[in-house]
Symmetry: C2
Subunit: 569 residues, 2 copies
Amino acid sequence: MVTDTGMPAEGATAREGGPPRVVILGGGYGGLYTALGLQKAARKGRIHLTLISRDNFFLSQPMLAEVVSGSIEPPHIVSPIRRLCPQSDFHQAEVEDIDLDRRQVVIRYPDQPNFRYIPFDHLVIAVGASTDLSRIPGMAAHSFSFKTLGDAIALRGHLIGVLERADVEEDPQRKERLLTFVVAGGGYTGVEVAAEINAFVREATGSYRHVEAAEVSVLLLQGASRILPELDEGPAAFSHRVLERRGIEIRLKTRVAGATAEGVVLDDGSSIPARTLVAAIGAAPNRVLEKLPCPRDQKGRLIVDSSLAVAGYPGLWSVGDCAAIPDTVKDGTCPPTAQYAIREARHLAKNILAAVKGSPMKPFAYKSLGVFVPLGRFSGAAQIMGVNVSGLLAWWLYRTYYLFQLPRMKRKIQVFIDWNLELLFRRDIVHLDITRSQQTTRSHYEPGQIVFNQGDLARGFFIILDGQVEVVRQREGVEELVATLGPGEYFGEISLLLGVRHTATIRALTTVDLLIMNGNDFTALANSSADFRDLLGGVMRKRLTDWGVESPEEIHRQAEEEATERNEG
Amino acid sequence: MVTDTGMPAEGATAREGGPPRVVILGGGYGGLYTALGLQKAARKGRIHLTLISRDNFFLSQPMLAEVVSGSIEPPHIVSPIRRLCPQSDFHQAEVEDIDLDRRQVVIRYPDQPNFRYIPFDHLVIAVGASTDLSRIPGMAAHSFSFKTLGDAIALRGHLIGVLERADVEEDPQRKERLLTFVVAGGGYTGVEVAAEINAFVREATGSYRHVEAAEVSVLLLQGASRILPELDEGPAAFSHRVLERRGIEIRLKTRVAGATAEGVVLDDGSSIPARTLVAAIGAAPNRVLEKLPCPRDQKGRLIVDSSLAVAGYPGLWSVGDCAAIPDTVKDGTCPPTAQYAIREARHLAKNILAAVKGSPMKPFAYKSLGVFVPLGRFSGAAQIMGVNVSGLLAWWLYRTYYLFQLPRMKRKIQVFIDWNLELLFRRDIVHLDITRSQQTTRSHYEPGQIVFNQGDLARGFFIILDGQVEVVRQREGVEELVATLGPGEYFGEISLLLGVRHTATIRALTTVDLLIMNGNDFTALANSSADFRDLLGGVMRKRLTDWGVESPEEIHRQAEEEATERNEG
């Protein structure tokens, strides 16, 4: 077994005659707890264990929403996998492919130009589910997904940034849009996120002199006829009442049909002006499963038998959200929750060891303790062993259960301290925008929306990927349509080349997708390439002539006049 | 006074006849403590106070290096300015210009297309220093600066990423490069950062099965003939010995002449292969000062008199790192430290209130308590009231002093807990790479360096901004120079258009600067624009013909053959 570069791979330490090689894909609840169950066997040399995950840490997913509100510090809900599983070879890498014929996994490290091949005798597929927002136009570019720790940190930073902008915004409509927060999806995740956003933003307004809590709107959109399909009707209805009492507007039978930088388009054609859209929808199978020849259910999950093995493919196993596991207690398949994944993984570790030894395997059977939904500060809903619990008790049970589930004593202490400090002090509103230098490269617009206005400061160079825009110029109060541009055409070059504000308004005629190059990159390119400069200069001169502008100098004069008017107006 | 959009600005609430408008630029030690000193007067309505800062939080700068090693959680060394200064109008914005004639400041909010104008009667300039790495080729693109909290978080993430890569790297040279960490600049910041990197990386290797602490190299480069010019020779020499004993290699009289993705070029022409370069050099005046007509010293700082006023410009004041303040105790000017900035700011607040009342102002006079340098776990060097202190006592004094300086009780508790947990548990190695989706858009190369190798996976589309590269192809073991490309020319299109690995090696002939477009953006553009597609397709076909390749299909066949060889070799 060799790597791409002709060098022996690390996995090769477990050669023919060595112990069986168990490779686990995924570092979530399913993958991690399988690895934990195999640590002892690995230490004794009975197996060679390898764990492959995109992140080098394990995330306590059920606490993710509390990162948004600042109840828990982000580092406290993650733990280094290398520390938790010291008996495994660990690879922080993306899984590119699973080659069942050669019995090897193809992985790729971040920013590396080559693949690496990891051979296996037993393969545990615990890659979880992924999110696919591509079916809703603009959704991928203009909504916050909510799966990773990075998502939670980004959303928190965005919420505070929006409050900062609202505090200095003078236009009432724009202020209202800034203070409208929409969550799409009324399942478990959507409810939790909406509750935390609502609690956090309303409390934080106390630190903003020009924003009142009453100006804040939080909307929860749910396609089905009630929220929380994971719960029975009783606790779901209780949750619905609690959320509404706290100021969340719930719209049932409502789906998102499109998203832009300025708002959400609904399936009935209406729209909600909002700067914040969280997507708690779009669960999709992991890409890597699609390449496998194994049977999958209608949700795209790998079908396994009650021993957690993929029938017909010896040595192939699967647990967690990517597996369709027969529920031997209830009908149907096991639900995709952390509670089940932990039990499945512990059971799988035992079955793999049995398979290695040649002893018989046992079927997986687990009866859930219950379901918890936190509803923001000091309230929750739960069904525990068939009994409905609500309010403070449910909230306390939820916290206690997941505190005990946290791996490592250090984390238990830190989260416990976070929760106690939260009772004593107000939550933080620090705007940790560490992605400041990141440039948006794509943007989506709905018909009628403005890309930029004449007189705006230069934003960049725009290339139309899809759709049509109109170019409108104002001269002495009269609006004039000067051009219509389509795919492959571009705009924004005049203000960048001449160093002036935008000389026309660009409005979307259809749905439009743009590629944006930031001003610095554009200027660097124009400086380096005479061809590029000539091409753009020619187009610019033609446009200016069409507009009746004699020369670039005239644009400069006009821009100066307009700026003076603004200053003195 | 109106804004750009013709709407009255918020500052206009303090109109003619209202209280004097005091505007503070900068939210560091100078700006924040001036604002704190003016809170009472603002509450009583004697002044109208406005604070403008790029971040909505105050950063306890002296603790920044401890974020890198994970001794302190990032959120714990920052505090929300709005909470600390509830009697101020706060704007999270960039200062674009200071208009002394109209007595207004021009600011810009993030991502906003318009300026905002804030009028003032008194203006406090406390914008600090900035960093300018542009004089060293490649430095801006390939080094980590160390000024903001974002810088510290990014560096920490990078260090852990490098350890992850080193753990699975099989090529000894590449592994050595990954495990070499260079800090440029042997002043206070450079020493602190080198000490924290050294302590953290050596400890963290314990969690990596294939990395030994002995494989780690940390180098500190200093242009002068000794480190720590801020200290006397005694404690500086002590620090030098401590750092060397802990495994840091110190090179005196050594400067960086260039930087690339693969290493550091020194001023004697030699180079150090290293994946990590931290720039603790390049202090430069803030851009906004350059536009002012006021006198500045040779370091570019605003010259103020002993009352902290800019002579000849009534109502203009300056404190902190951007001000040249006469030191009335020693000769020269006050040093740019947090300790001095706090005292200057408190003094300035009193002088502004005196100016408002028309009472006489007092000259600033402060005798420093001392200088502290932390040298990593449990050691430090200090000069306190003329006495040299070193080792554990200096380290303890440093921590205690800055713990007391932290604003807000919640922060004092949190940092105190962090420090105690650090004594009990190992430091974290969680790789919080929340900038995963960010694309590098620029890259710099030194002569002879490889941009990519034939057979590498497609990385993107490259446009040459400056310099020349050669294109080399291997056929049946023979290397052939097929082209030389210069500014404005591009490469990488073949593998993106045909979906194959790179079909040639690109090597820098001179120093080269590239603009990189990621593969997804390139594909989107090629799909949308027939012109772009035809242009690139033409160039691609010409290149393939020149190389003796008959058709795109042949490239596919070759790529498949090579891939099979790799798999089976």
